[in-house]
Amino acid sequence: MSGTGATDPAALLLQRLQRLLRWRLWIQERIQLTEWQVTLLWAALAGFLGSLTSLIFSAFAEGVHEVLTGSSAGVVESMRHLPWWGCLLVPTLGGTAAGLVLLYGQRLARAQSSTDYMEAIAIGNGRIPVRASLVKSTAALFSIGSGGSIGREGPMVQLAAVVASMLGRWRQFTGPQLRLLVACGAAAGIASAYNAPIAGSFFVAEIILGSIAMESLGPLAVSAVVATLTIRVLTSAQVMYRVPSFQLNSAWEMGPYVVLGLVTGSLAPMFLRSLRQAEEFFLALRLPIVARLALGGLAVGIMAVNVPEVCGNGYSVVVQILNGPVIWKVLLGVFACKWLATMASFGSGAPGGVFTPSLFMGASAGYLFGAAVHAVWPVGAANPGAFALVGMGAFLAAASRAPVMAIIMLFEMTLSYDIILPLMLCSVIAYYTAKGIAGNSLYSESLKRKTAAEPDPDLAAGRVQDLMKANPPVIAPNARFAAIAEMFLSVRVNNLYVCDADGRFLGAVSLHDIKPYLGQPDLAELVIARDIMREDFPRIGPQQSLAEALGRFLGLPAERLPVVDPVTGRLLGSLSKGDLLLVLVEKRKKPEPAV
């Protein structure tokens, strides 16, 4: 045997091939990526692409703004320099253009499903219609670029989620994987918009997924970090809100901070309710969409003639408030007008977000409250600017019903740790206050409505076949040892399924079993798949419940289980433990059906 092996060129070639395979497998085994690691890589790519779309959207929005106002300055600054008729014309034109885009875009998009990324993640299948989303984002360019009182972060997050959805669909991800990737895109969008990777991750985890389990939070964090890094490398983005050093001047200040929590916790539900009422008001007018958006723009323009601060998302005004001092009477006027302007923009249906406007509401309310306390009891509120900062977080916590995200986001956006104690306390109080007043948040309202209308078929049924991935790698029972080794090199699995010519599942060959024998070329000629397959390899039927599937995985090192038809014995696909865990994590906290 050895003599022949040493002289026969074919045997020598086989030996060399075996040696090569052995080394390749050795290397692959050490750097072999698990399914979770691969998920992290896709999450990173989604983060990178999401940040690029955010940058592109910002650039376009600024371009539209420059064309409409003739100024490259900030929204408030541009509006301040426009004549009165310009203040009226620009938002009206922007609303008209956004309405036209939506009107004609609907014909182009023919969208069957919602474009809402939150819906796609939380209760959908992760598929976001691309054309409909592009139409909505294009319309948002006009409403934002023309000074609408609306945030640009909404479309940025939407676009980042769309790109992630496209990526996942291209790679034929399963439902849970696709939903997670879209969530990663959304986290990247938030992180890009606010330069806040931790808050970006927690925003999606806490608000949309309702879970901070590592199965989902890990990929979200990776995506958000990559997005933030990309933004920092490609732009000069730094801390979003540069603030002076705030500190707790006296323990007595905690008293007013508690009251501030109650105030913002009461204001936030009122703010949200007013937005919904404005929406109902505009719909009741029964105007065509173009006229409705133009009217919303006109309403903003009318206020902008005297109070240009109402335009845009309120960022520049928040910076002014935080860096104070500001005249409280002026701020009170701006606060009231901004509230009305946001109602006009949001209510008329202008595409955009209300996240940043919420920050403005919180900062204004906090500053006004701090100034009032300072006036009657200076020790209780030494610096109203600090109350503005805490008010932002508290209002956000109350409006979004996500206090953890709000605290983290405020900290990330300001990098002001000194204020963390009142911020935490105030946010939690505001959260519970708002929760006691009204059960709905900025985001849960639409999700609840949609959950009731369109229950997720995958989760309602909860069957293995819903999560199963078709066409897993298989080998024939008489496949040679060398062919098995090659197969293990070409596909990233730890178990190869053995099927007969009719596709019936016979068993599985484990990489763990054959690993020690790759150095023995003699086995290559002798051993076939049938010799080493495990006939008792666990399998699961397509109709079995997800709970049963989880039970099958318990105590099993395998990352996938073959799905086998119990009648014919045919291999139908495979079920990933990762997918199963993701679905269970998602199921753990679904929005409650609407009452």
Partner: protein, 154 residues
């Protein structure tokens, strides 16, 4: 020394200078001897498994050496039988017309690892210098067993 290698050093059945005129005859003769082992619980099933496997793919590992094997519920531990066929040997397939040494292995169905250990131990044994020629030339059973024991020592 792992268990399958120990079984190889002291096989459950040994036939020297077996006279057979076909692969099936050789397999049946060695199987009949091996079936005497108390570890073989279902001899017909074991034989069926051996023949079925031999039909599915070649079982020869060298021009003169065959390794018929089966993972089967018919045995309750690894069983190994060795036969030396009288010259000129028997043909196992077109490429192996003169097989002289037959190592028959039965492994319990669940024991994939033991199966691979057994097969690997036999191929290692036959690679050891002088062992294969020695096994073919051994004049007595004691001499043959001594060579097996020497070849399986690490």
């Amino acid at each position: 020394m792992d268990l399958p290698t120990q079984f190889l050093a002291q096989p459950d059945a040994l036939i020297l200078d077996l006279v057979a005129n076909s692969r099936e005859a050789a397999l049946c003769a060695l199987h009949a001897e091996l079936a005497k082992s108390p570890a073989v619980k279902d001899a017909p099933l074991f034989l069926h498994g051996l023949l079925e496997r031999a039909m599915l793919a070649p079982v020869c590992i060298a021009p003169e050496v065959a390794l018929p094997h089966a993972r089967t519920t018919a045995v309750e531990r690894v069983v190994i039988g060795v036969a030396r066929i009288a010259p000129p040997g028997v043909g196992f397939d077109a490429e192996h017309p003169q097989v002289r040494l037959v190592f028959m292995v039965g492994t319990p169905k669940q024991q994939v690892e033991e199966y691979l250990l057994s097969v690997a131990a036999i191929t290692r044994l036959l690679k050891t210098e002088g062992i294969r020629d020695g096994l073919l030339a051994a004049r007595t059973e004691a001499e043959f067993r001594a060579l097996l024991a020497r070849g399986t020592k690490r």
